[in-house]
Amino acid sequence: MKKTRVATVWLDGCSGCHMSFLDMDERILEIAPKIELVYSPLVDNKEFPEDVDVTIVEGAVSSEEDLHKIQKIRARTKILVALGDCAVTSNVPGMRNPFDTQAVLARAYLENAQENQHVPTDVIPPLLKRVRPINEVVKVDVFVPGCPPSADAIFFVVSELLEGRLPDLSERVKFG
């Protein structure tokens, strides 16, 4: 049987959704033989591959790098899953949205910095004016809200997708 090519991505989030994924404990052994993990924070692969069946995205779109990544990911993915409140609502990263990016950078790098006060201009990707949930930027096929979504919900979603079905989460919606 051909393995499903799965990727997981970490944009602007805390990695708690990835932790919750791992929280499915031994059930991960049920899933492992059915998938080929082609890209993930857990995999040492620098370039997002072509022809990915399922990509699970944690985090909101906050920087130009995130935007560039998610567009490339969308183009190379059949089914895109927005995992967790940051990906679905922008959540905590989006709390900066009522403020100007300059004000946000000044708060972080000048006002609250004890030493070496300056706003970095290279290495750190420029912030977007507004943090966006993924579906405001590219089409999302499956939404799994929650902060984080429970391991049960993630297991259900992955199992359904591996069976070739789009999971119906209407009974399991949970924010926060």
Binding site: T89, V92, G94, P98, R130, E136, F143, S170, F175, G176
Partner: protein
């Protein structure tokens, strides 16, 4: 003088039920075990039909009507559940989420929030409209309470409980449409209000984390609304 209440019959989702003309569609539905979701409505306060979650279809009416604020009439045919209503109700919840800054994960009312419950009830997994991210005020000037406009859905329960039950009328609404906000006195800081009795009724009836007890961490704020029923029971016994 209002006309005396009469006994009538009407149809709720193909069920014929008896009712009094002074009852609302919502009251009759609840008496008959039919669930109509509500958000701004709270038993014991006057209904105002602010949130539109309880919209129902009434045969012969070309618009949807709020069940909490619509009186029943003889022969009325009401539909409380339909695909159209589900769609509208979910849309209402979406707009409430989009118009404020509802960050469940860091909210004092996380897991004890009526707005959050309504998202679950209507199956809202995400928004189909962009978020507004308005810049809104947090007023922590009161000694014991906090008002966070980011989490306010303008249900006006605070306004009503303060005016109708406490009799202080500290709260009211300022501005119109999307700019509307609940304010204390003449838009003075809550802590400087001359009329507020610090009774906390507004905090207890608030469906979200917009009004909370100071010092609560995320998910710690549980509201206690039972005092309303007790109040009305006592009132009834008195009269």
């Amino acid at each position: 003088m209002s006309t005396p209440s009469r006994v009538i019959t009407l149809t709720l989702d193909d069920r014929e039920v008896g009712a009094h003309t002074d009852q609302t569609i919502l009251e009759v539905a609840r008496e008959n075990g039919i669930v109509i979701p509500t958000l701004c409505h709270l038993e014991g306060l006057l209904p105002i039909g602010a949130c539109r979650i309880c919209l129902v279809e009434v045969v012969g009416s070309n618009k949807l009507l709020p069940a909490c604020a619509t009186k029943v009439t003889d022969g009325m045919r009401v539909i409380t559940q339909s695909e159209r209503l589900t769609r509208y109700r979910r849309r209402v919840v979406e707009f409430l989420f989009a118009s404020g800054n509802h960050i469940c994960a860091v909210c004092v009312s996380n897991h004890h929030c009526e707005l959050q419950d309504m998202a679950v009830y209507t199956g809202m997994s995400h928004l189909t409209e962009p978020y507004r991210y308005p810049k809104l005020r947090v007023d922590a000037s009161h000694e014991r309470f906090v008002q966070d406009d980011n989490r306010c859905i303008l249900c006006q329960r605070c306004v009503r409980v303060c005016a109708e039950i406490e009799g202080a009328h500290t709260w009211d609404v300022m501005g119109r449409g999307i700019e509307a906000r609940v304010i204390t006195d003449l838009n003075q800081p809550w802590g400087e209000s001359d009329t507020c009795t610090s009774c906390s009724k507004c905090v207890q009836v608030c469906p979200t984390g917009a009004l909370s007890i100071k010092g609560m961490a995320a998910a710690e704020m549980k509201k206690r609304k039972h005092f309303l029923a007790q109040y009305w029971t006592l009132k009834e016994e008195e009269s």
